[in-house]
């Protein structure tokens, strides 16, 4: 009877029926590495019990004692179940009475008919493949998970709120996600900034390349608040600043939604759909946040990975080169924009002096021709102004964005280094503990020895966890980089092509302007 019950229970679990802690979809926020996202201190407090429990399970399994089903370990094994179902279908053997006593509930069928060493191996293999699947699954989603919904975010307009010092801009965001109806919310820049901080906190430690938020800009904002003076300069500057920021914010949101994992984030959805913007995490600011960032700096400075896989170093090198080149291109692009605006200005000045010259002409046909020339040059001036906007928005902003994204990539690489150094430090602590134990054993302090053994067990678990985390983050990073490269190639190609097209259109306008002028020139008599 017990057997049957167990079997039923087991089968129910295998078929993926909802159990209290079962997880159906793969890309989910609950995962083994979530603990890493939280405070490092908490890591040892909160998770200790869970880890210990898990470790106990494994050990008991090996040594043959039964255990309560560990409800705290659904993550690790649920996916295994799904895996097992497909790969080990035929392997569900008949359980013998003697075995079932020893085998804990949550161990899949693997454990019962096979011997111990094989068990461990298979267990590890299953875990690994599940995690591999899971890690790839997070970032990219596979066919089993819910497909990424198509979405489009627009910022159609903005308004200025308030006056003077306390004024700011409110952007209207329209979001269309999947089949859901369009939602509209109002947000100010600071809300975006807070959203970004929350997302970074959540996802960066997993090796995700978080799309960068348009940067804070004190000068621009100040001009905005106090600007609007009489001269042309100041009224032009703020509106250009807002236009750029608005476009950048739109791109930012669309990039977030394009990311497989981030697009499903609660906070992001709330940002896009609820009236109130998400609040900042109190831990992020203040002393705790400061300490955390200090810690980050220290780990970054001291860590070096002995790479087994050259891939990471090569990629980093490659990305640095790319950054260099992009910065050069951005400088050129900025020059082009400036020079084109200058050309527009000079054309306009030339146009007005032509008009002046035409008025001074005594011959009627020549006067008319020169006046037409003046008109022509004014047209050309307008074409150039438009082109400058094209230079800026189509091409320049894309390059600028990617320079920021590269910064985010560097941050992700750094997270991996951090994970590695945590692993290393865990390993060294373990070694020390082992040392202490052997010393205590030699000295015959049995009570100390027991304590040491407990410590060792804990640290072994820690080491294992750190290694897992490191491997997971490494795999994630690889995948993120792969996606990044794909998107980069696509984006830059599209931008460049669009730029070509815009230039073609502008030159065509120039052609038609001159063609309109030509007959006028011919009538000079």
């Amino acid at each position: 009877r017990i057997i049957i019950l167990e079997k039923q229970w087991y089968q129910r679990r295998v078929r993926g029926a909802p159990t209290p802690a079962a997880v159906v979809c793969e890309p989910e926020e609950e995962d083994p590495v979530t603990p890493v996202a939280e405070d490092k201190d908490a890591l040892f407090d909160m998770e200790e019990k869970e880890d210990l429990a898990g470790i106990e399970d494994d050990r008991e399994d090996l040594f043959g004692s039964s255990e309560e089903p560990a409800t705290t370990q659904p993550d690790l094994f649920d996916d295994d179940d799904e895996e097992e179902e497909s790969s080990l279908q035929g392997a569900i053997p008949v359980r013998t009475n003697s075995d079932h006593d020893r085998v804990p509930f949550n161990t899949p069928a693997v454990g019962c008919a096979l011997d111990d060493t094989k068990t461990t191996a298979l267990l590890n293999a299953a875990k690994e493949s599940a995690q591999l699947k899971k890690s790839v699954g997070w970032v990219n989603g596979d066919k089993k998970s819910s497909p990424k919904e198509s979405s489009s975010i627009e910022i159609p307009n903005y308004t200025k709120v308030g006056e003077g010092y306390s004024s700011y801009i409110i952007y209207t965001i329209q979001a269309t996600i999947g089949d859901a109806p369009k939602t509209t919310v109002q947000r100010r820049y600071n809300d975006f900034f807070v959203l970004h901080q929350l997302i970074v906190e959540n996802y960066l430690p997993r090796g995700v390349i978080v799309p960068p938020v348009p940067e804070k800009n004190f000068m621009g904002t100040a001009k905005l608040r106090f600007g609007g003076g009489s001269s042309n300069e100041s009224t032009q500057d703020p509106s250009l600043f807002i236009k750029r920021r608005k476009a950048a914010l739109e791109r930012y949101l669309n990039r977030l939604m394009a990311h497989n994992l981030i697009s499903k984030d609660e906070t992001l959805r709330r940002f896009l759909q609820e009236e109130d913007a998400p609040r900042p995490n109190p831990n992020a600011t203040g002393i705790k946040g400061f300490m955390k960032s200090m810690e980050t700096m220290v780990t970054k400075a001291t860590a070096r990975i002995n790479e087994v896989d050259e891939w990471y170093e090569d990629k980093q090198q490659h990305i640095l080169e790319m950054e260099e080149t992009l910065k050069k291109i951005l400088a050129v692009s900025d020059n082009i924009v400036a020079d084109r605006r200058d050309l527009a200005a000079k054309s306009a000045a030339f146009s007005s002096s032509c008009l002046h010259l035409g008025e001074g002409e005594d011959n009627a046909s020549l006067r008319r021709a020169i006046t037409k020339l003046s008109e022509l040059e004014q047209n050309l001036s307008n074409v150039h102004t438009e082109m400058a906007d094209g230079d800026l928005f189509i091409f320049g902003e894309t390059v600028k964005d990617y320079i920021s994204i590269i910064q985010a990539t560097k941050a992700a690489f750094d997270e991996r280094v951090k994970a590695f150094s945590l692993w290393e430090s865990a390993q060294s602590t373990l070694a020390k503990k082992r040392d202490t134990k052997s010393k205590a054993t030699l000295q015959g302090k049995t009570d100390r020895v027991a304590q040491c053994e407990e410590d060792i067990r804990f640290w072994e678990g820690k080491v294992e966890k750190c290694q897992e985390d490191f491997e997971v983050i490494s795999k994630n990073l690889k995948e993120e980089i792969r996606v990044f490269e794909e998107v980069w190639v696509r984006d830059i190609k599209e931008s460049t092509k669009a730029y070509f097209q815009k230039l073609i259109d502008a030159e065509n306008q120039i052609i038609s302007s001159w063609k309109a002028f030509l007959p006028e020139a011919k009538t000079i008599n």
Partner: protein
């Protein structure tokens, strides 16, 4: 050093306006030019059916100073006081280009091979453009004289075209330069005084106001055109740098290699075309306005001379009156007055014709330049569109 190809100079010959007074009996063209150290030597070929010339065809080599000598000879000839003396061509100025060359050679070691080559190429094209310009301007000067029915008969002009050897013209020494400077000063003062002169002739009154006004306007326009041309050129430099950036990306990123290589090629072409747009703006607009600024100056000089002659006549009349009152030196005064009268009237008559032809010439030149400019611009933009479209097509496949 550099030699302008014959083709290029021929091309320019055709773009310079031909005065319709030229009945083909005298045709002058600059067929070659060589730049040596400080000077440029022009090879001038003349074909003449006129009796005054000893041969039908001749070819001489002249330098800029000799052109200036010719101009001085013409301006100082009082018989030509009633004509608009064609303004002298500006001195060839390779200063800027030479500076650039020294800068580049100095920085040679700090640059990559490619960059150095590119800069040299740019410099060469700059040189070539300057060259073409100066040749065009000298040629236009000669053609203008050749087209003037009276001026082309000038003996100095003939010598200039015929004399096989060096004219041994020395550029003005300090004394002469200072003398010239003072002469100019007094002329300006005189002009100012004469501006309040009462003129009975409506035609000339109107002409003077027109020219004064025109001169100011055209000067402003010339300035704007120069700035426009510079700005257009700046953009071409940017295109070159952009091409460089694309080339870098092409090398670094294997997935983008062919795509970016194509982009680099397209923008190199864009750079060339943009540069041509800039040079044409310079040639067709700036030079046009500058030339007519000089012509307007020359016309003003003519009016000044006439005004001077009128003032002289008036003074002579006064003198005669005084002499008649005092019963002294009446014949001298009368003779003098007669001289002045004749002079004044001949100048006035010549001036009238000159100013009319000036107007006609202006219309012609403007027409030619504006039409040429339009056609060139259309062609350049079409080339740009062609290149970009072709590039875009290729990019869509990559």
């Amino acid at each position: 050093m550099m030699t302008a190809e014959e083709e290029n100079t021929r091309e320019h010959a055709s773009t310079v306006s031909l005065n319709d007074e030229n009945d083909g009996r005298l045709s002058v063209s600059i067929t070659d030019a060589v730049s040596e150290l400080e000077t440029v030597k022009f090879t001038i070929q003349t074909k003449s059916a006129l009796p005054s010339f000893s041969q039908h065809q001749m070819s001489v080599i002249r330098c800029h100073e000799e052109f200036i000598w010719l101009h001085d000879m013409l301006s100082e000839n009082i018989e030509y006081a009633g004509y608009i003396i064609p303004p002298a061509p500006p001195k060839p100025d390779f200063e800027a280009a030479r500076d650039k060359l020294t800068r580049i050679t100095a920085a040679e070691s700090t640059m990559s091979e490619d960059e150095y080559k590119k800069l040299r190429k740019e410099l060469e094209s700059d040189y070539l453009a300057l060259f073409k310009k100066t040749v065009a301007m000298h040629e236009m000067y000669l053609m203008r004289i050749a087209a003037h029915s009276k001026l082309r008969e000038d003996s100095n002009f003939r010598v200039f075209l015929e004399y096989a050897k060096d004219l041994k013209v020395r550029s003005k020494n300090k004394k002469e330069l200072i003398g010239g400077f003072f002469k100019n000063m007094t002329k300006n003062v005189d002009e100012a005084l004469l501006s309040s002169q009462k003129d009975k002739d409506e035609f000339f009154i109107e002409r003077r106001t027109f020219l004064d006004d025109y001169h100011t306007r055209i000067r402003e326009t010339t300035r704007q055109t120069e700035q426009l041309s510079e700005s257009t050129n700046a953009l071409s430099v940017d295109y070159m740098q952009l091409a460089g950036g694309f080339a870098l990306l092409s090398v670094q990123d294997p997935q983008l290699q062919r795509f970016m290589a194509q982009c680099a090629i397209s923008f190199e072409v864009m750079q060339k075309l943009q540069k041509r747009v800039s040079t044409d703006e310079d040639l067709k607009f700036t030079d046009l306005f500058k030339y007519y600024q000089r012509e307007a100056d020359a016309a003003k000089s003519l009016l000044y001379r006439r005004g001077r002659a009128l003032a002289d006549k008036d003074i002579a009349e006064n003198k005669l009156e005084k002499a008649q009152e005092k019963f002294k030196d009446i014949p001298t005064a009368e003779a003098y007055l007669q001289d002045c009268k004749i002079r004044f009237e001949s100048i006035s008559e010549m001036a009238k014709t000159e100013l009319d032809t000036f107007k006609v010439r202006r219309l012609e030149t403007y027409r030619k330049h504006l039409v040429d400019m339009s056609e060139l611009q259309i062609r350049h933009s079409q080339s740009k569109v062609g290149e970009l479209s072709k590039g875009l097509e290729l990019l869509c496949d990559l």
